[in-house]
Amino acid sequence: MSRFTKSFDTIGAVLLAIIWIAPLLFAVWAAVHSTSDAVNFRLTSPWTMSNFQAAWDGAPWGKYFLNTFLLVTVVLIGQFIVTTLAGYAFAQVQFPGKDIAFLLVLLQLFILPEVLIVENYAMVSRLGLFDSILGVGMPYMASAFGIFLMRQAFKSVPIELDEAARIEGCSRLGILLKVYVPLAKPTYLAYALVSVSTHWNNFLWPLIVTNSPETRPITVGLSIFGAPENGVDISIISAATLMSVAPLLVAFLIFQRQFVQAFLRSGIK
């Protein structure tokens, strides 16, 4: 590559990168200045933390964070249990009806939970789970994508290990827990990262199923806080937005490599 095209590439790539993070940079700018300083771009104006204070006092953020944390935990635990069992059944157990069952699971990849909001809402209400964290999480626990991922991971485990453990007198469930699960650790990690960031960011379904600050996750809380009816100004909204994305963003910047690997692993079959 010639020197010229290389510097041309660098300029283009960096320019696009700056455009791409500009919305975040502007939010940081707005969050640490008073509203009038922020919108008039007074570059030398003093910094302030009062927007964060005002945002924090404006809504029960602590509760929202806790709800989101509980939600992603409940979803992840549910998904691990359900997808491990089903993935193992599809990978290593021969039973009648297996192929049809697997086809039905794959079908769910296209029946998005987002699209079935009306009937899923009816189902959650019927189960008495309306306005509960379990109600928000439950439709996502039997993830077709997760089952598929676990099946792939368990298929790559050599059958000799399985047989050796059986000769040692290990029970079937014991083999699953002591042989297969530890060997699939990277898959679990990847799946966990994708799942946590998906459900941390999920909005439409939690909006429908939650109805009180006691269960509302951070995304729904943020949308209510920023609603124009509430007349909150741009600096405080920016502060609230940054606050609510901070945990995931910081985690991403620290574990960037793992995040990217996780998303890759999840997408490539």
Binding site: A13, F26, M138
Partner: protein, 297 residues
Amino acid sequence: MSELAKLERRRRAIYGWLLLSPAAILLSLFAFYPSIATLWSSLFSRGTRRHPVEFVGVENYTDLFADPTFWIVVKNNLFYAGITVPLSMFIALSMALWANSKISAKGFVRTAYFTPTVLPMIAAANLWLFFYTPGLGVLDQIGSLFGLPSVNWLGQPETALWAIIIVTVWKESGFFMIFYLAALQTIPEDLREAVDIEGTSRWTYTRRIVLPMLMPMTLFIGVNAVINSVKLIDHLFILTKGGPSDASKLILYYIWEQAFAFFDTPHAAALTMMVLLVLGIVAAVQFYFIDRRTHYQ
């Protein structure tokens, strides 16, 4: 011996279905039953105190077809897909080619491209609000430097859907870039070296070697982008609420509105059935192409 084999087979069958039962129950509750229930309720009228629920056949569907808003929403969503799918894929490919080339500041560039992916759509919408606000917003301020008048990007029908589209492209391009990056890294280095020795231009190399080798990945990303054009609507709640006068309303938002703002479940169900049909076609296309791909490999 055959008795024993039969017993063993039966034990395995029970064992397999036991392992599968949690997934089977949950999938039935939250995917299969709701799909059938949606179809069922799309064939009945909305019950009121005076008129109890009754079977109306395809009336809910013909109602929708006769409703101008429905066609506006369909047109909006087709436009939304028609722009976001190719545009985000093109940007993703450019990002990947850059992030994979030997430029300085590669780490920064990759991080910057990928960052929007980890943000919730609601937060993304809030960030962009600062750009779009008339008068005070960043876009207007930049415009005023060049003497352009203030524009109400979110408040006028001509620009509202575009404003929504830009946020979507911004959000998903970095995500698709990752997949292109992975595919690029599977292209052998020797091809590049051979091309350098031959003195072939970079453009020819990209067009004749890189792009064809990225085809399967392009298809995969394309399917995901189409699904996203149905799914990604959270920012509507912050930015436009589908307005002004339905100019930026998308199908999933319309379903939500019908069901949870107007409490018109039958029409929401009929809409949902149509979306499921479209997603089914997307699935069929994907399976068909993936089948073909595995055939000639």
